[in-house]
């Protein structure tokens, strides 16, 4: 990831990170609503959402012979597509770009799979650094239970079954997510991730998120936005 931003990128980039079930998507959605409500131009992008790449990735996942390197490169391809086509142009156009997962997801997942950390980082060196990157910290069991109660069918790679952590897919998933958390935690200091306590209420978390984001706005605008939101609650 390049440090700072490219010339001409006048928009704002905000990323949310965390394991599945950490509540990050909910928080991003609420943030999005708040920004839109204040008439700001917002665009949201999600991990693994490139149409171009999805077909290939899902075919490969079904066959089950994707090595960590190939897997990592496919995710990087998906990201590059979204970056070149959406994120970069929108940042240049002055939009607020909200990313549900950003490069940190790759740094965490790919290295858990055994890819060399500096190699993965060099892949993403073309991507701009976010203005804020939130990391939603939850105990692994809390997050895992949220996911498993809502959607019981886990997929092979999603559960990290390619890593031979366990023969039981649920156990594998738990261990896999735990390892990803370890990686996230190790990045907090070095990558300036803003830690949000996922154990707090949704409202409380959002309050902290909005406060941080408001620092990116001109002071008077931020004040009005926060006041309006407070009145509506």
């Amino acid at each position: 990831m390049r440090s700072g931003r490219a010339v001409g990128e006048s928009g704002r980039l905000i990323a949310v990170e965390g394991i599945d079930g950490s509540g990050k998507s909910t928080q991003l959605h609420l943030l999005e609503q708040w920004l839109r409500h204040s008439r700001l131009r917002v665009f949201k992008t999600e991990w693994n959402s490139s149409d171009v790449v999805r077909k290939i990735t899902s075919k490969g996942k079904k066959k089950g012979n994707l090595t960590p390197t190939t897997f990592s490169l496919l995710h990087a391809t998906d990201f590059a597509d979204r970056y070149e086509r959406n994120i970069a142009p929108l940042l240049h156009a002055g939009y607020w770009v909200l990313a549900d997962r950003y490069v940190y997801t790759a740094f965490a997942r790919d290295t858990v799979r055994g890819c060399h950390p500096s190699w993965v980082r060099s892949l993403y060196s073309f991507a701009s650094q976010p203005d804020i990157a939130f990391y939603f910290r939850v105990p692994v069991d809390v997050a895992v239970d949220r996911i498993l109660s809502g959607r019981p069918k886990l997929k092979f790679y999603e559960a990290g079954m390619d890593l031979n952590l366990s023969n039981d897919i649920y156990e594998s998933y738990r261990i896999f997510q735990g390892r990803i958390i370890e990686r996230y935690e190790s990045m907090v200091g070095s990558d300036n991730l803003v830690v949000i306590d996922g154990a707090k209420s949704i409202e409380e978390q959002q309050r902290v998120v909005r406060e941080r984001v408001s620092k990116l706005l001109p002071r008077d605008v931020a004040r009005v936005m926060l006041e309006v939101a407070a009145r509506e609650v």
């Binding site: 171009v52 790449v53 290939i56 590059a80």
Partner: protein, 208 residues
Amino acid sequence: MLEGPDSSGRTTQIASLTEHLEAEGHAVLNTGLKRSELISEGIIEAKRNLGIGKRTLSLFYAADFADQLENKIIPALHSGYVVLADRYTFTLMARDTVRGMSRKWCHELYGFAVVPDLVFYLDVTPEELVHRVFQIRSSLDYYESGMDMGLSEEMYESFILYQRMIATEFRRMQTRYGLVRVDAERPVAEIQRDLSTRIDGYLSQNDK
């Protein structure tokens, strides 16, 4: 490894080299760009969709390459095969660099690739390449002409300019990576003899 532009004669040479090596008792594996079952369709489709970005296409090729490397090339090498690659990372790096991606990035991207034992670069002037293309096909390929780079609106001109840039990149990589330049404007049989001699020499030296 055989590198070189389209129509430089790689396919012909690889075919005869394969025959030659097999005749000598070596097990041979042929691989090439865009031949990964997984990703090749995607790349073809993506290229048709002209909205795809340079970085994206570059990573797509890298993923295809990684898939082939890890599922075909490395297992074959472990089993004692001779792997003849119709293009390897060098073509990809040249294409990417010429399109503006930093050499450092390209070099790091392919950091996971096995270092080849021998790399031959089939050198043909762009002008001669055009003739060869038109002997087989009726048109120049869009990407091989660098038309996505806006070098010229005229395809022939674009092709010449683009191929010159690629050739310059290859000359640079020659020194850096030890590529062996082969004059591919000679008769097919002559080139074939040249390549087989060099490869035989290498194999016997290294007792494979």
